[in-house]
Symmetry: C2
Subunit: 404 residues, 2 copies
């Protein structure tokens, strides 16, 4: 038991932020996650590696301890220079936690950690750069919606772009697909509005604290998302949105989503950064085309040409990007997913176009790679899937679509 | 020497349609090609196979002969039933040649056959379905321009589509790239106009005779193309453009061009038929994106999604599609091509993105497959090209383009 992270401190700190019924160890872990989020900038890989190596509580104790107590850190197997630089970054923020937790309580925010059932497991793909916790305003259950798409794009969107973003978002959300975006002006806002209009699920991932709606002009929209959907941030309440936090926020949008679609983006738009994260994570990438005469679509066309982004013209294309079949196939909801038999889950995890490795299929279907491999082998014998050097694809039983 | 295709008849028939200086055998062959074009519908594979098997003169004699003289046709190795059906198709058109040749003379058209130096060798890829000859108004030299792009699309084009078609055509033509299209209303006309405006090379491939400009409203445009570029048709003068001839004409547009780009096309536009031919011939396919809300762009988006068409936003993308580098690389002209050393020609024939087989590289560079293979092997050792199971690609020496 630690002196720095004692149960009483943890319970006091976490009051109204987590479930009252948590046990001592759980509350200590939740508290440690929360404190960590006040010490680091998003995506701090040294913090992530330290927590992975030692556990969140022990890692925090080390981070908060005096230099003299850290003699044993070389055992951890982390680069000593990096670790020392980490301590140097984290120490100045000691003590920021109390005001951050108070701000969260005032905003009605809750804490979500990797220990929670509602934790979105997809962010694990970020490895040591994954968020250490999430601060949430709204319904945490939405975070585990099986199908999620990031609809992102330029703030300086055109009427065409906002129209298409809101249309695709509304259709996806009506279909039960979670619409993830960043609450910015332009495409992001249009995507959230489309989803809200269809009374479907949507998540806004903020770069600053969830108590500091940004941009200010979207205060009402963000409140509405908090009521009907979810507003999340990995930075604690009170944090200002900085340039770095915007870039880091984009990786969370990409990681939360099964696919990322850029609706409008200029040649050097920040939305391309989200696309980059999606591609790095191996998530399918889509782009909505527009007039070649429109600078607001140039980034989308570039993604199609240079990053193999799929041309997305409507929600049916988004479904396909997420690995679901034509409109008649239902998107498995949280409840459906549990009932669906293994074969269907594997088939749902495959695309007819994009080959996926066994590991990727396993991740998408929620099987172990060994189990997924077994089912895939049977489906191959059955002629329902095809194996190529680059992975597995679904064979369509209907004749292929003809263009002519 | 044949009774049906005697030299005197051939010389009389070909007067003013071919070079006066042709020898007896050449004039007989030219005449036979010309007569064949009056007997068949475009793409008649039985005629093509018969000509390939027997030579154009002997094949014609057989086609024009009486049934009793055809006893020996089983030796040819063609399906007897197909051949009989061919004779039955061709016989009724005996005698159409005289008026067709007269019409050609009145129109100032010339005959081009596979024997001519100006014959566009690229159409050989159509095999037995290649045009038997071409009727030409204008400069035949243009037909051997090394770089050619088909710019095609809907007749019911939007202002956006015609603007983009004419812009891309002008830039390509100014660059020395031959703009091939079908002289139809909408995209085709805009492409020709763009090329003419840039004083660059353009070819109109007509579905009917070159003496019957179609559509009538493009009579002036087609005359202008005949003056500054070339108007061609495989059907003889006097032929009406029929539905079949439009579809068959599209295969010639695709075959003449190193790449086909669809600028605007509705879901079921005829322009997709040209795209289909290009894809069948292994020619790269491009499509210009447009608003997803525009029905006139739906076919283009479909080509990107379902036929792996490359997203084309300007003439630089067309250059890349044709296998040429960024704007600083010159497109080799007819003269340049002779001066360029072998390595450069092979490098020019490669794409950084699309793998090409040795045969394809040979065809594009004008080497034999064996010679192309040798140069490719050396370039591989040099690290300038990359070999994959699907073919060769050019390695870019500069760092790859970054999106973020």
């Amino acid at each position: 038991m630690s002196a720095l992270v004692d149960v009483a401190t943890a319970r006091r700190g976490m009051a109204a932020l987590v479930d009252e019924g948590l046990g001592d160890e759980e509350i200590q872990r939740a508290y440690a996650h929360a404190v960590w989020s006040t010490l680091v900038e998003p995506g701090d890989g040294v913090a992530g590696a330290l927590i992975e190596a030692l556990g969140v509580v022990r890692a925090l104790e080390l981070a908060l301890s005096q230099t003299s107590e850290r003699a044993a850190t070389s055992e951890i197997g982390l680069d000593d220079r990096e670790l020392r630089a980490g301590y140097a970054r984290w120490q100045p923020r000691r003590g920021d936690a109390v005001s951050a937790f108070d701000a969260a309580r005032r905003a009605g925010a809750r804490l979500l950690t990797p220990d929670d059932a509602a934790w979105p497991v997809a962010v694990r793909d970020l490895g040591v750069h994954a968020p250490l916790c999430l601060w949430v305003r709204g319904d945490t259950g939405i975070l585990r919606t099986p199908a999620a798409v990031a609809l992102v794009g330029a703030r300086a969107a055109t009427a065409y772009g906002t129209h298409v973003a809101s249309q695709i978002a509304a259709e996806c959300a009506a279909d039960g697909i979670l619409v993830v975006s960043g609450a910015a002006y332009g495409i992001d806002g249009a995507a959230h509005r489309g989803a809200l209009h269809a009374a479907g699920p949507t998540i806004a991932v903020l770069a600053g604290g969830v108590d500091r709606p940004y941009p200010a002009g979207h205060g009402d929209l963000i409140s509405q998302i908090a009521r009907s959907g979810t507003v999340i941030a990995e930075v604690p309440c009170g944090s200002a949105p900085t340039k770095w936090r915007f870039l880091a926020r984009n990786r969370v949008i990409a990681a939360l989503s099964g696919a990322t679609v850029v609706v409008e983006a200029a040649q050097r738009s920040g939305a391309l950064n989200t696309a980059y994260h999606a591609a790095s994570l191996g998530r399918p990438l889509g782009a909505v085309p527009g007039p070649v005469t429109s600078a607001a679509s140039a980034g989308c066309h570039r993604l199609m040409r240079e990053a193999d982004a799929v041309c997305v013209t409507g929600s049916a294309d988004v479904r396909e990007l997420l690995g679901y079949g034509p409109e008649s196939d239902p998107i498995p909801g949280a409840e459906d997913a549990a009932r669906t038999d293994g074969t269907t889950r594997i088939m749902d995890a495959l695309s007819a176009r994009t080959p996926r490795t066994t590991d990727e299929v396993a991740r998408r279907s929620g099987f172990s790679p060994a189990d997924a491999g077994g089912v895939l082998g049977l489906l191959e014998l059955d002629g329902r899937v095809e194996r190529a050097p680059t992975g597995w694809t679904r064979r369509s039983t209907a004749s292929p679509p003809r263009l002519w």
